[in-house]
């Protein structure tokens, strides 16, 4: 799937650029994209190192396990094949909490830890995503955000009389998205499970 989308974007992009008579923009765009990718990853080093340090402390202190126990009924339903006491569970919960609070910077490192822990549970091919990983990503991309900080900031900047008017609509939209993510994920998990 990702192979087709990736190739499709490149092929279609180059064809359209050629048809527009501006095929030379492709080279620049490709290099700019690569540049941005490396910069993003390098910037991540600082924040990931920092949060991984804190996470390690939280784990050693038993805090992650306590939090995981608190929300076990929900997580047992969403991640049936992740053991309740596994560190993956703690990291997933921390990631989703950070997303809900709109702490985008803190959410990413927690998400990466969660993936590493989920990979340790991967009993199949280490290059193929497990069901739990797919569920985690589906939740992640559609996660409820209580305070969409950035967009509220922009609304304030452009003189909105009611910058937070969109908080309610955002929560509604994201709740719908998340519900569908969980349902679609569960259906596809069964479907793909049968195929393989």
């Amino acid at each position: 799937m990702v192979n087709y989308i990736w190739l499709g974007m490149i092929v279609f992009g180059i064809l359209v650029a050629g048809a527009n008579g501006q095929v030379e923009v492709v080279t620049r765009a490709a290099l700019e994209g690569a540049d941005k990718a490396v910069k993003t990853s390098l910037n991540l080093i600082a924040i990931i190192s920092f949060w991984l340090g804190i996470m390690k402390l939280a784990e050693a202190a038993g805090l992650v396990r306590a939090l995981a126990r608190l929300v076990r009924p929900v997580t047992r339903f969403l991640f049936p094949d992740v053991p309740a006491n596994h560190p993956a569970m703690g990291a997933i919960i921390m990631n989703l909490s950070a997303n809900i609070l709109g702490l985008g910077n803190a959410a990413t490192p927690m998400g990466l830890i969660a993936m590493q822990e989920l990979q340790k549970l991967n009993r199949g091919d280490p290059r193929t995503a497990t069901g739990a990983m797919c569920t985690f990503l589906a939740l992640n991309t559609s996660c409820i955000t209580l305070i969409p900080t950035t967009i509220i900031g922009i609304r304030v900047m452009y003189g909105s009389t009611d910058p937070t008017a969109i908080v309610g609509t955002t929560i509604f939209a994201t709740a719908c998205g998340m519900t569908v993510a969980v349902i679609v994920d569960r259906m596809l998990r069964v479907f793909y499970g049968r195929q393989e």
Partner: protein, 177 residues
């Protein structure tokens, strides 16, 4: 309500930084060494994501700069017009799963042009807040552990994006039209 939530988010990280090491210390953890041990893993994790992000961001960048984005928007707009979905907002909807920065740029531009309290301004604000950048998150998270076969993750991610989009259009039409 908003003030309360805002206050919580302001305190969440400082409080975590205060309480986690403190509790760890009380539980007999050697806090400095444990922190360093965790931080050391951060470096390799970040570096491992580079090739995956390069691959994805190159494709997205070509797709956008070539004008292919506009072609896609042009093809889709006759379907979406009758559904109370203004064509001005379509580039944002298509861009949202691909690039967070670009989508935010489009949103800012629309808010500046039409005003934050206009129908379009509110719609695009809701759309910007209600999903994350699916392709970026997928590439970054899967890349960090070397997963190359995503199975159905893209389908469920995009299904969620599409639902959030439809729900945004619906609720903003209901409340602010």
């Amino acid at each position: 309500m908003y003030e309360l939530i805002n206050e919580i988010s302001r305190w969440a990280i400082p409080l975590t930084l205060l309480l986690v090491p403190l509790i760890a210390m009380l539980r007999g953890v050697s806090v400095f060494e444990t922190f360093v041990e965790g931080a050391a893993e951060g470096f390799t994790t970040a570096v491992k994501t580079i090739p995956y992000l390069v691959a994805m961001l190159v494709a997205i960048s070509i797709f956008r700069a070539s004008g292919a984005m506009e072609v896609l928007v042009h093809v889709l707009s006759p379907i979406l017009d009758p559904l109370g979905f203004p064509p001005e907002v379509l580039p944002h909807a298509v861009m949202r799963p691909l690039s967070g920065g670009a989508a935010l740029g489009i949103a800012t531009d629309l808010i500046a042009t039409h005003g934050p309290d206009s129908f379009i301004g509110r719609l695009v604000s809701t759309m910007q807040g209600s999903t994350d950048t699916t392709f970026y998150v997928l590439t970054l998270y899967f890349g960090s552990v070397g997963i190359t076969r995503y199975r159905y993750a893209i389908i469920s991610g995009l299904a969620a994006d599409l639902t959030s989009l439809v729900a945004s259009v619906f609720i903003v039409n209901q409340l602010f039209r």
